[in-house]
Symmetry: none
Subunit: 281 residues, 2 copies
């Protein structure tokens, strides 16, 4: 039985793992089978304090160096279910079962139904983060596929940078008002291009763009943990990152916006401190 089980191999997971290690708690860290795509493919990260203008790949390398220096171990398995066993939790990962007194969910936000070509052009014209990648499109033509009004301030920001912004809201009454914003109806069927994304295809017609921002909420970790309270696709947590389930904490994107590396690292840090406090009760 472990003191702490950490689920997720993104920045929040890394941060939680180093903190669990430093605080001398027994832990198991499920990183999944692939490195975190969103981090690695980021072209340039400007706001991870202390590491200015770093690529996702180099930031990920810095994280790797950090865990290597501390001797933090990964368990590259995918957890498919977490079950409350009254005072402890059972975690299923494929055929294996583990037990832990606390669980820290760092599962990120899933991109539920990707557009055809979305994965292919991720980091080569497809971006999920206006504040991260907006600067690459200064004076250029872009499209924004927007799934929720909550993202409209990100579109406004992109309008201050790009030449033309084709806004494709998946809902009614999009409130973006910028002069260089053009509204489009319909849902993209495909992203196409060569080395980089070049076009957004619709059933009837297409848009030639230099890049497309996909701004969406999706996936509920409620699937993973029975009884976990979520809201709008995010796990409901308090300031200590405790969920509605005793001993279960959440950190990073899965715990809410903004989706940012520094925020995720900070929350991995907080969540372990909260878990340790819980364990010492």
């Amino acid at each position: 039985m472990y003191d702490i089980a950490i689920i997720g191999g993104g920045p929040a997971g890394y941060s939680a793992a180093i903190n669990a290690k430093i605080l001398n708690r027994s832990y198991i860290w499920f990183t999944g089978k692939t490195p975190p795509k969103k981090v690695i493919k980021a072209e340039l990260i400007r706001n991870y304090l202390g590491l200015s203008d770093i690529s996702g790949e180099n930031l990920f390398s810095a994280f790797e160096s950090h865990i290597a220096a501390l001797g933090v171990e990964k368990t590259p398995e995918v957890v498919t279910g977490v079950y409350d066993l009254d005072g402890k939790y059972a975690l299923l990962a494929g055929k294996n079962e583990y037990e832990a007194r606390t669980v820290i969910l760092c599962t990120g936000v899933e991109t539920a139904r990707p557009i055809d070509g979305e994965d292919e052009f991720l980091g080569r014209g497809v971006s999920y983060c206006a504040t991260c990648d907006g600067n690459f499109y200064r004076g250029k033509d872009i499209a924004v596929l927007c799934y929720d009004k909550a993202f409209e301030h990100e579109i406004e920001y992109l309008c201050t940078l790009a030449h033309t912004v084709h806004v494709i809201p998946t809902y009614k009454d999009c409130g973006v008002k910028a002069a260089n914003a053009h509204m489009h109806e319909g849902y993209p069927v495909k992203f196409t291009g060569g080395m980089r994304l070049e076009k957004v295809l619709f059933k009837n017609g297409e848009l030639a763009v230099d890049g497309v921002f996909v701004l969406r909420n999706s996936f509920s970790p409620a699937k993973l943990v029975h009884g976990l309270k979520t809201e709008g696709g995010h796990i409901v947590v308090n300031r200590a990152l405790a969920t509605n389930l005793d001993g279960v904490f959440a950190a990073g994107d899965c715990a809410g916006r903004p989706y940012q590396y520094a925020k995720s690292a900070g929350e991995g840090n907080i969540a372990v401190h909260s878990a340790v406090e819980y364990l010492s009760k």
Copy 2:
């Protein structure tokens, strides 16, 4: 008028400043007059993800390099009051007044508790600003409670005005040399008087004065911002780091435990995103 005013020169302040810069918002960043001692003096920081086993001094250097790379500007002034002007805030820093639509408090946690009587005689003998109020004490006897070498030039200035200046430094090797400056050891326990302040009391002894200047780098947030809700010495915030006052956000140690660099950097990141969302409403 600025979009965002950031108060505090610790990790949360640095993080907020780089995010405000990257998001193309007009901002003013009040760092205070001295670098953050707590960061710089840390011997070894093990859990700032991406920068393993780093000294406080080197971590601070990395922060400095980051702001230099982005061209982030500091305003090395101490804010002594934030006032709600119905939809915007006025910030007083010495003789200067600034206005901002949002305020991000990154003031850290106070290590110095106010002196008994300090609040009571504020504006009636207690002052926080030599350049603002020095003239009221021409030819009079005053005391200066000084928390940092960085304020010594303000004491020198007061010595050109007042008759006698009783200097009470909270550190060693105070460098004030004026002929009318008298050094005192010990820490005041109380300020007393009638309509105005009359005496500074010590454990053993007292000083009869017309006024006392308290020169410190930061003030408790509740004192700084009228009407701000605090609890147990921390500013009450929600997950978006919004306080009870519209447009006022808090990040880092002042917003609650754990007191951790990564947590503070993450929260500076979050607070700016929340401020930008607020501004776009």
